[in-house]
């Protein structure tokens, strides 16, 4: 079962996509849908920066792989840690499936759950500072028990 690939800095998108395509070429998948997330120039940022907590990220990804396998599909994912400059890419996900419908539905569910659940923290790089993107962040489901939410 493939693991999340983590890289320091921006992703080498052509290398990753080409390699994933070649790795799966002989498994009779009829559909492959990649999602590539690229850092946009916005609000004067120089880039984004990421912290990743690997143990929980890997558990989350394995649970998704099990879900994909049950549908005859396979997921791949790569993410950056540290600084990623404007116009570089920080995230790639891809679904391989026998037919298109499973891949089309799964890429949406997977990317949305990734945004809501994967233990990754984003910071804006602005004026040489690293500023937590709190307004764009989502509390993980079940958060708040230590503050009295049960």
């Amino acid at each position: 079962m493939s693991m999340v690939e983590l890289y320091e800095g921006g992703l080498n998108v052509p290398e990753i996509i080409t390699r994933w395509y070649a790795e799966e070429a002989q498994f009779n998948y009829g559909a492959c849908i990649p999602f590539i997330g690229t850092v946009r120039e916005e609000d004067g940022i120089e880039g984004l920066s990421f912290d990743v907590y690997e143990p929980i990220l890997n558990g989350w990804f394995e649970a998704w792989q099990v879900k994909a396998q049950a549908l005859g599909a396979k997921l791949k994912m790569a993410h950056s840690r540290g600084d990623v400059l404007v116009h570089e890419s920080s995230y790639i996900a891809a679904v391989f499936s026998p037919k298109r419908r499973v891949a089309l539905e799964m890429i949406e569910q997977f990317v949305e759950d990734f945004k809501a659940s994967a233990p990754i923290w984003k910071y804006d790089l602005k004026n040489s500072q690293r500023l937590y993107a709190r307004d764009r962040s989502t509390a993980i489901a079940g958060a708040g028990i230590l503050g009295g939410k049960q």
Partner: protein, 73 residues
């Protein structure tokens, strides 16, 4: 003793304390002014598994992690 670690943007060194359940951890952190802004939005994991209740038991050597709101991608 259990270890409490603070992930991502929470700039705080790990703590060790005596606790038999997460309720004890909640009590200890409520008195920590640095943590007040985080407690309502953090998810909690024990030994890298997310948990949903303060009744989660803890034993010596356990690791409790606090995960603030996330934003990958």
């Amino acid at each position: 003793m259990v270890t409490i670690e603070f992930l991502g943007p929470i700039q705080k060194a790990p703590l060790t304390l005596e606790a038999s359940s997460l309720r004890d951890v909640a009590e200890a952190l409520k008195n920590d002014s640095e943590m007040a802004q985080w407690l309502e939005s953090c998810a909690v994991a024990v030994n890298d598994t997310l948990v949903a209740t303060l009744d989660t038991p803890l034993k010596a050597g356990d690791k409790v992690s606090l995960l603030p709101p996330v934003c990958g991608g």
